[in-house]
Amino acid sequence: MKLGLLLCAALLAGCATQPAPPGSIVAAERLSTVVVAGRTTKAELLAAFGPTKSVRFDSGYEAWVYQSPAGGGQFSEFVVLIDPSGVVGKTRTRAPSTQ
């Protein structure tokens, strides 16, 4: 019985938790101006845009994602790959879904 109550409490707590933010909202023009692969550092990203949704891997690489307003209430995704030395290695932009 106690176990069941604990499970219910855990489930309810899970339902009450807000999902992780999908990433800071930054204008696409600012991202393309500030972020340069091979040059921009993680510290510079933080200084320019603040923290955003990110994933850190055991390899030392990190993937950071930003959202840019794309009109009509939609957002494009800007993803930054930071290499283990703390420098942006790659970037990519994903247009809003067509569906």
């Binding site: 999908p22 949704k53 994933v55 891997f57 995704e77 990519r92 994903r94 247009a95």
Partner: protein, 260 residues
């Protein structure tokens, strides 16, 4: 399940005197794979070849812990009286042979590693695909075969209780919430679907197990050691045909621009 049994055992009345002794001759690690289930997965592959008419089926062993040594793994089918070695190639792929006696004895498929240190997947590949791509129909069938064969080793008892009702091949492989994890050959930066003129890059939340795994959650995911290779694809979305190509951009480009 182990937690359920443990919890249930707390509820049993203890005998203060004359304790009974139960001798267990052997036990199977619950993460060891059932030979019967894996054969059922192979039978499902044959039944549902329409997803991937020219493809072949193999199984693959993958690391579940960063410390797992994946070199020199041996594998065998082990029943009460039979022990059948199964060759494993250098990339840890293998083909499971059919063995009537092992089926009858409800054998297990055992690897020479601690079971919690690895995870397993079906690998279904159509021939002639460009390097750095997979085919969506192959992945659709991989999901069905993998679930039928009982290969996924996510281990949280809580998640297990919740998901059991949905944890059928149909529940997982035809639902947007099925969350069947695939692993690319190398760490990925982007995954793009291509079907004729239609091209769409998957959103960030379909990479890296959703991108929401915290250090506390990660040990329960069989993606723990492969997080940077992990992706979902829209198996459920019939608007993408089986011939859709799934293209990978890797974190690190292959030397000389040659895809591995």
């Amino acid at each position: 399940m182990g937690s359920v049994l443990m919890a249930a055992s707390f509820c049993l009345p203890l005998r203060a005197t004359g304790q009974n002794t139960v001798t267990v001759k052997s036990t199977r690690d619950p993460v060891d794979k059932s030979y019967r289930k894996m054969i059922r997965g192979m039978e499902r592959f044959e039944r549902e070849r329409a997803f991937a008419p020219n493809a072949t089926l193999r199984f693959q062993l993958l690391p579940r812990l960063p410390s797992t040594d994946m070199r020199g793994i041996t594998l065998r089918i082990a029943g009460d009286t039979v022990s059948v070695p199964v060759p494993v190639d250098e990339n840890n792929f293998f083909v499971l042979p059919r063995h009537a006696q092992a089926l009858q004895e409800d054998a297990a498929v055992l690897a020479s590693r601690k079971t919690a240190s690895m995870t397993w997947r079906a690998r279904i590949e159509s021939p002639g695909l460009p390097d750095g791509t997979r085919r969506l129909g192959d992945l659709r069938l991989e999901c069905r075969v993998g679930k039928e064969a009982g290969l996924v080793s996510n281990s949280s008892p809580l998640f297990g209780w919740i998901s059991d009702a949905l944890n059928t091949p149909e529940g997982v492989c035809t639902s947007p919430d099925g969350n069947y994890l695939f692993f690319a050959e190398r760490p990925i930066f982007a995954v793009t679907l291509r079907a004729g003129e239609r091209v769409e890059t998957l959103p960030f939340n379909m990479l890296y197990a959703g991108g929401d795994q915290t250090p506390d959650m990660l040990p329960f995911c069989d993606c723990q050691a492969l997080l940077d290779r992990t992706y979902y694809v829209p198996l459920w979305d019939a608007s993408w045909p089986d011939d859709t190509l799934v293209e990978f951009e890797y974190m690190v480009d292959a030397p000389g621009g040659v895809a591995p």
